[in-house]
Subunit: 342 residues, 2 copies
């Protein structure tokens, strides 16, 4: 099945919040059958279900003919507060969990290249370019670029300012045509577009997806915000317990559970031509079925779908997505403990 | 001739302003016959006679049995505002002028190892340590450390903050026991002592020498301060013309010409068991001879030595020191033009 340029464009744009620029993307699709895209993940906290949104997006790219590169950014992890001594174990952990997750949402395994940051970010040419770029980017600019991504605090470390420059260089050195990231990456992506040309390189296309809200009332789902997330290795019981406590007021769809249902679950269902079925007990009205995001959202806002039923239905779906990931990590308790010592 | 530990200590300490720490230095001299010292020079502006003070100091180290390493810091030059495209030519320029200068003040040529920064500052181990160190040093600390050395301005570039960390790592990677530098390097040296141990390395001994004042009324002699300096390639006529205009009020020894005479000329003379002879015309009282810094300073402060005569005498001595350096650079007009395009 060959997709037209317009079909490819539509596939790539769905569930995104911004494309820099759409003109360049259209042109890329017209001129290359197999362009490349990368998504980087710094080896910091334990990956959670928020990551599934970008894994799913990568699956879209794959269907649109893109070569997929996933950067397991170990050095970036350390530049953003991961202890250096955990570098290797964190890498090992991500290197199992991340591809399992991409597979779980329909990414074609053979079409994904996993790259380890430290495999090329210590190379002479890369480092020379990093030194060069540091002489073009002001402290102010790099601070601003890092501010939404790196944990800076009151007394930021210099590493946090180096982080955005390396992310820019990664586009050139992987190399790729497109970078995919959450909207929190926007300032770094803009910096990359501004400064790669000063080194004589082409600016890349930057594509952003919305961040999934956390389970608590405020902020994105984040490893560093307690109770905001469901870990990729959580079991059904844990998922259910966490969702039970999660922020999800009746009739108000602005919450992390609805976000996940709308962005991930409904996309998965639609791609398989299935419905999202919530197995509501007969005494509360029996099963509910949703074909589209709009149907789901309308039911929730009009209070036909109760938060408790939504939570039950979403828990089952999350559990299905996580089952193959947990499977890949079973019997790896030692690695888990070494990568994330208690 | 073998020197005792105390004689070596005295030789190293003369004309210095601070030793961090003297206890460590004494211990080093007791335990090593041939320790090593390095002085780094970033390939920025054209070297001037202020550099002779440290060249002379290196000669002292050489006499005290030290192996001398001179770092021609090309990457540091670029991190401090030298255009990257001039990197190679600036390096070539320094690589001729700097050893010629050291030889001119009695440094033993065979005992000097010249190292080019980019020859090892792009190596994997070095860069990994740089990434690591950047995660331990705050933006605040690196800004403070760089402030007396790097030209920062209102909107400093990130490169200026990386500069001090590399200077710290250089101590480990050259490797050396001691770093020599002007007092303007103090904050970087203190940073090096604080943070090398966090990477598991020994802190090094830091030795500072006073900066020679510029020829204008304020500030140190510096390539970036117009009219403050005599270039290592200036000829006698130029030297004389510059000194004629230089700040040197009668009776006040706080000026760059007296600094140079006291620190460089008198040390050179005493080491050769010679006197500093100023060839004053008979009508103004005939020749003047000085055996010690005190004699010279007293004569100037008591106005027995007139600024014009001092300037004449110093011009002749500077010219003698520069003659062999100019000789090495004759017929190199093209290199000069390429390294410092007008």
């Amino acid at each position: 099945m060959t997709l037209t340029t317009e079909e490819r464009l539509k596939l790539i744009k769905r569930n995104t919040s911004e494309v820099l620029t759409e003109e360049e993307l259209t042109n890329l699709l017209k001129t290359k059958q197999n362009p490349s895209v990368y998504m980087g993940t710094a080896t910091t906290g334990r990956p959670h279900i928020g990551y599934i949104a970008w894994a799913q997006k990568l699956a879209d790219f794959s269907k649109a003919g893109f070569k997929i590169k996933v950067l397991i950014a170990d050095i970036h992890g350390a530049l953003d507060n991961t202890p250096w001594k955990l570098l290797n174990k964190r890498y090992e952990y991500y290197n199992i969990v991340i591809p399992a997750m991409i597979e779980s949402v329909g990414g074609l395994k053979d079409n994904i290249e996993l790259v380890r940051g430290s495999d090329y970010q210590l190379n002479k040419e890369y480092v020379m370019d990093l030194y060069k770029m540091s002489s073009y980017v002001s402290v102010r600019n790099s601070t601003k670029a890092a501010s939404d991504v790196v944990k800076m605090g009151d007394n930021p470390m210099l590493s946090g300012l180096i982080y955005p420059l390396m992310q820019a260089l990664d586009e050139e050195y992987l190399p790729v045509d497109v970078q995919l990231g959450g909207v929190d990456q926007r300032k770094i992506m803009v910096l990359a577009r501004e400064f790669l040309p000063k080194l004589g390189y082409q600016p890349r296309i930057e594509i952003m997806i919305p961040l999934i809200k956390g389970l608590t009332q405020d902020g994105k789902m984040s490893s560093s915000i307690q109770n905001s997330k469901i870990d990729l290795l959580d079991d059904l019981k844990t998922i259910q317990d966490k969702l039970k406590l999660a922020y999800c007021p009746e009739g108000n769809s602005e919450n992390g559970i609805m976000d996940f249902a709308k962005i991930v679950i409904m996309t998965q269902k639609q791609d398989k031509d299935e419905e999202f079925i919530i197995d509501r007990p007969e005494k509360w009205g029996g099963p509910l079925k949703f074909k589209t995001v709009e149907e789901l959202e309308n039911a929730f806002v009009s209070k036909q779908l109760h938060p408790m039923d939504l939570k039950n239905g979403v828990a089952i779906e999350i559990d299905k997505l996580l089952a193959p990931i947990r499977e890949k990590m079973k019997d790896r308790e030692q690695l888990i403990e070494e990568a994330y010592p208690q």
